[in-house]
Amino acid sequence: MKVVKIIAVVLLVAFVGIQFIPTTRNQSDMVPETDFMLVNNVPENIQNKLQVSCYDCHSNNTQYPWYNKVQPVAWFLEDHIKEGKAELNFNEWDSLSTRRKTSKLRSIIKQIENGEMPLDSYTFIHRDAKFSEAEAEEIINWVTQLKNSL
């Protein structure tokens, strides 16, 4: 019984302790000129879907949920956002060459087609980020069109 108590206290102290470790927050007031929405003529419904389902991890501005402030959740999110932005940052879209854009659009199509994006761990909490079958099809069609026009 005593051992359990000690473990519980150690865990509690550790949990409180890690709350003081700072994390970098992915937030910015400015939308750069190279943003995907600014350089492409994106229909409003598709704009909304991309914003809600993709921009949290694939842009310079994340709409953080309240629990982001609790560790170790914050680390988990930070990691995902870092990785997501390295793969694709919608804010920096127009700085890519035509070859790179085509390549990225192809990957976007494949990821949505295969149901790999948005991530399950993300849509589990962000229910509105999930694509219905019709929505996925609509987005894929539009992105394909954009890819063919490059």
Binding site: S97, R99, R100, S103, R106, K110, N114
Partner: protein
């Protein structure tokens, strides 16, 4: 008299060191020129190294061997990074840098994905490598082959004119045709 001797000696010393310095400069120039030639040879060899890794990767996909394909993907990342564009014209350099950047990303994904995903990336990678060869050329005869079924039609490169399909492997080994011969 002593003064005169001293100044002659000084002049001589100066002359010797000037000549020496000039010689050295010349040698350096020669060396540089050699180096320039070597770079040319190097970039050709490095383009061939990229191609070799690409073909090993293609063969692994033909054999449905995910693990081998991943390893070849890692090798390809290294040979892409080692590529030196400095012996090409400015325009070619720009395009090559763009191609290498794109190809590297696809090779990286191939190094860490399951086979379906590897094949998706192999499609774009093949386009990049084909565009690279159009600039760098190659000492071997290559065949651009095409499968109309995979993802609305997909091409790849091979050193052999017989079809071995990297997109389907054993499921449809001989699906495709030679589209173009590259020499």
């Amino acid at each position: 008299m002593k003064k005169l001797k001293m100044s002659i000696a000084t002049m001589l010393l100066l002359a010797v060191s000037f000549i020496n310095a000039q010689e050295k400069e010349k040698m350096k120039m020669d060396h540089k020129m050699d180096h320039g030639k070597m770079m040319d040879m190097n970039s050709v060899a490095k383009a061939e190294a990229i191609l070799n890794d690409y073909f090993s990767l293609k063969n692994a996909l033909v054999a449905d061997d995910t693990k081998k394909a991943a390893q070849e993907g890692t090798k390809l990342v290294a040979s892409l990074k080692a590529f030196d564009t400095s012996s090409y014209t400015k325009e070619q350099q720009e395009e090559l840098v763009d191609i290498i950047e794109d190809a590297t990303e696809h090779a990286e994904h191939i190094a860490e994905s399951a086979i379906d995903h590897q094949r998706e990336h192999f499609k774009t990678l093949s386009k990049d490598i084909t565009d690279m060869v159009a600039i760098t050329g190659t000492k071997n005869t290559l065949y651009q082959q095409f499968c109309p079924m995979y993802d609305k039609g997909s091409a790849w490169l091979s050193t052999n004119n017989e079809i071995r399909n990297p997109y389907y492997g054993s499921r449809m080994l001989k699906c495709g045709k030679v589209q173009k011969t590259i020499q």
